[in-house]
Symmetry: C2
Subunit: 409 residues, 2 copies
């Protein structure tokens, strides 16, 4: 008799037939005596269709009005699922974000949840109903409609699970769990039964698209047990849990990678205090996010080389900014490379195991893969390599760290 | 410096280009210093699309959930129009029915407006903004979304105009006003500059589809000056006003007609108290609305003939009910005819002019049109004739009462 929050993404509710399948799945849970709250995204493609419509009207749509527009997408799916549930003899009620007072700040198109009034939801659950809530949306203190940004429905689900102190928050998607790496790159990739929140955060931030990163942070903060599973198959999925729960002692849980990287280097800048700020300040002012940053020690000429990475979409603009200020910085040259990728080993086990980094570098060297940049955190080691080595690098590391073998065997 | 409520129907906001045209029109009013509240319908076809989707899920969709679904249609158009206005330098804000507290009863799919909180609207108007409100929808006292039924946006506009004590409520549609009769039947039909509320009510209830009848009742009750005009052309449209304002002394304002009629006759029932109730009770129990009712005086055999009309869609069911109880009633025979139409003369001038009815009957007789039933009210005379005489009858009366001539000349 658990209280479960289930979130279904756009592809899971992308057609009438799929909505019926979601209703069947929800009903199986209620038939077993569980209380279920469902959080839905818009039908796949609908949000893009609405954005397209808005851009035909106004090149940069008013953020407040865009939220009024986009929030209709989930309002359609919650109504349809509630009908499908009712048709199967499973009483249900739909609510928009505003109706269950998902209070957010007023940052339209990227609002953050502040509070949820769970009383109305609880009243319906107590009356034996399934509650179907529109994800991705809320209202601010003025009663204006807000949206949480792409993938925000995951965050809605976690926030609702936290507010209800649900037993589990289940994120149904089109993959059946979190994998050791992307199976399209490494066919031997293995589904993980469990992963820690910290690992999931690193995996998500490194481009594993299974969960929106903010929802993982939220779940970690409020200690909501989170499970990723497929809405098309049966199966236990992957439980995202707290470190102390993990019994396996795998050093590495997975390999994440990101193709959308570009790096920029300013060569021979005088090594003076404040140089990093003078280089990165204008980049930040242009709203370009910087990921890895490396500064070499000064050479005999008292100059240094400064390298950082940005999203590939921002590469041209960042290069232009650096070239425009190279002379003022006294730099010798500005170099750039948009054909690089980042590969990262992720694992909480890394903390207590020395030698992971050297094993990683040795494996890559063994295949002739030159490492361009290195960056590390508590539970992650990232390397930047040439784009052409992405698949080879991932497969090499997957095998070197034994990720294709089930650690419980 | 007037306060104007403008309502645009589905065809007026049916495309991006048309939404821009509506924005242009609204801006012309604000540029002249007027304060404008806009009430919108969903894009034409959208409500039917959503109903179709719902019916694919559930044969008879849950009324509460259908309202959650349908209300998205107007939410899309209010956001898009607000963007279009902003793009033209005309600040605007959109609101759903719930956001401006259009409080209704809980009769989902056909709710009635009880109250409107105009404070938020006034605050925006005072700040120099256009306020764009979703028509057709409201919320009930539980915060559930409701809709007002087909054509409900007209009622929303009138209710908002009443709550704001607006100077005028303008209903923009795809016709340029109210005509003496349907121009598709009588090409000489003439647009009226003014018509009284009572006449408009009769015209609307008799099948002139320009305005939803409930909105006319509402406007009459709260004395909201209502104007019907085209969103595609310029022009003054038709002002629907109060009788004392009318200066023209035309006896007849227009000719309405309805094609969807059918009549049923119970012949030779014993003329006893309660017979009308025994006949019409089961009809009412089957939710069939009865329009005209005629009972002849008893003949020498102390039996009477009882005739009434129903909507043509209900004809087969009504006939079945009557046939099932003919024996119990002691009736000689049950007759029916689904190929009849109703033609009505409407005009407040009728009250003070004798002889209208006889002039009407004489004109029809002159063309060999046999009258099957007659019914009268204070400002209306209706006749039922064979379907084949509809066009001839309308044109004959249009000419006989000089409706093609401008009475102000």
């Amino acid at each position: 008799m658990a209280l479960i929050v289930q979130k279904y993404g756009g592809t899971s509710v992308g057609s009438v037939e799929r909505i019926h399948r979601v209703a069947d799945r929800v009903k199986r849970w209620t038939d077993q005596g569980h209380r279920v709250v469902v959080v839905l995204s818009a039908m796949s493609g609908e949000t893009d269709r609405l954005i397209g419509l808005a851009k035909q009207i106004q090149e940069r749509p008013e953020p407040r009005e865009l939220d009024v527009l986009l929030s209709t997408g989930e309002q359609v799916t919650i109504a349809l699922l509630s009908m499908a549930l009712a048709a199967k003899g499973c009483p249900a009620r739909s609510y928009t974000g505003g109706q269950v007072h998902i209070l957010t700040d007023s940052a339209h198109n990227k609002a953050r949840i502040r509070d949820i009034d769970a009383a109305r939801v609880r009243a319906d659950l107590d009356a034996g109903r399934v509650v179907v809530i529109a994800g991705f949306q809320g209202i601010d203190e003025h009663g204006d409609i807000t949206t949480l940004g792409r993938g925000g429905s995951d965050t809605s689900a976690v926030a609702i699970a936290a507010a209800l102190t649900a037993d589990e928050c289940q994120i149904y998607t089109d993959v059946d769990g979190v994998y050791t790496t992307d199976p399209r790159v490494e066919p031997k990739a293995r589904k993980l039964d469990r992963i820690t929140f910290e690992e999931m955060l690193e995996m998500a931030s490194l481009g594993s698209k299974v969960l929106q990163i903010r929802s993982v942070e939220f779940a970690g903060k409020y200690r909501v047990p989170l499970r990723v599973l497929s809405s098309f198959d049966e199966g236990e999925g992957t439980l995202i849990t707290f470190e102390e729960d993990i019994v396996e002692d795998a050093k590495i849980s997975g390999i994440a990678f990101s193709r959308d990287e570009a790096k920029l280097t300013v060569l021979g800048v005088p090594d003076q205090p404040g140089v990093a700020h003078r280089i990165l300040g204008p980049i930040a002012d242009a709203n370009i996010e910087v990921d890895m940053i490396i500064q070499n020690i000064a050479d005999q000429a008292a100059t240094t080389d400064f390298t950082f990475t940005v999203h590939r979409n921002d590469y041209a603009r960042a290069l232009e900014i650096l070239q425009g200020m190279a002379q003022a910085l006294g730099a010798r040259q500005v170099l750039g490379d948009a054909r690089i990728v980042k590969i990262s080993l992720v694992g909480v086990g890394m903390r207590s195991h020395a030698g992971i980094a050297s094993q990683m570098f040795a494996s890559l060297a063994g295949e002739g893969i030159n490492i361009r940049m290195i960056s590390t955190s508590e539970i992650k080691i990232s390397v930047v390599v040439d784009e052409k080595y992405l698949e080879l690098g991932v497969r090499t590391l997957h095998e070197a760290f034994g990720l294709d073998r089930d650690p419980t065997l």
